[in-house]
Symmetry: C2
Subunit: 160 residues, 2 copies
């Protein structure tokens, strides 16, 4: 039996990789030549290192970060989901993925089977999503909602 899939291997990352990661995870548009100057190596080296980090999956692309509130998404909530039976997990995730307002979905253990983050325009919009979209999904027994009144901070995992 192949157990390799259970071993999520940490990548070989040296100090130069860490320095590169610190820079590009803070600003994806930074010119690689500027990274090169800060690291004291050539632009080509940075270019190849970033390519490698992408290839081995240490980084998975880049994005401009949108501020949900400026797009009218003023309500943020976390929700714990209880399933009728554990076997419904997969199909419930498939259904949740189809709801664009569900922006994060985790397979959890403990009190809930699934844990999601929801971003809606208003509280009314959230209510409609719970009453209409979520309660329609086969396999969901019951949900518990935690409203976020304010996001105090958000960041990526510490590098190094």
């Amino acid at each position: 039996m192949d157990k390799s899939e259970y071993l999520e291997q940490a990548a070989d990352i040296d100090e130069l990789d860490e320095k590169i990661l610190k820079l590009i995870t803070k600003n994806a548009r930074i010119p690689f030549l500027e990274v090169a100057r800060e690291c004291g190596v050539s632009g080509a080296a940075i270019h190849q290192r970033v390519q490698r980090l992408l290839n081995i999956g240490v980084v998975s692309g880049s994005e401009f970060i949108v501020n949900p509130q400026k797009l009218g998404y003023n309500t943020c909530a976390y929700m714990g989901i209880h399933l009728e039976k554990a076997k419904f997990h997969k199909q419930v995730v498939v259904a949740l993925r189809k709801i664009p307002e569900v922006i994060e979905c985790h397979y959890t253990t403990g009190q809930y089977a699934i844990f999601i983050k929801i971003q809606t325009k208003t509280n009314k919009h959230l209510k409609r999503l719970i009453d209409e979209d979520l309660q329609e999904i086969e396999g969901i027994a019951r949900t518990e909602t935690f409203m976020s009144l304010e996001m105090d901070f958000k960041r990526q995992v510490p590098i190094q």
Copy 2:
């Protein structure tokens, strides 16, 4: 009394802005000239639009997305925090921010006063963080942890 601070104003976003946002939120390194070609406008126009989106806070920078597991961060948990008194909120957030493994922190209502996301290298690392770092913080009464066994998906708020 100035109530403007309570009115989180959605920004004026036209179709061109939306098209730009869709492209740059999926790939922050996309050349603006390519965005320009896709939108049928000049590169300078994209440049000015993106600058404006940054200025009015619709986007707040860019980042390469790191895969925590590849850096050895294999444990992800959400945690609800009960406070001894609501007034401790601010100082608890300050203390939480100092713990790099706490990667997200929300002011919540309902069952918990504060809700956080934690990313640690191992379960042991999480245990240590809970026993040593968190229980030391003045104002925290008790915590409840939900372990994420797998992140099914994660994305940004829908544009348009």
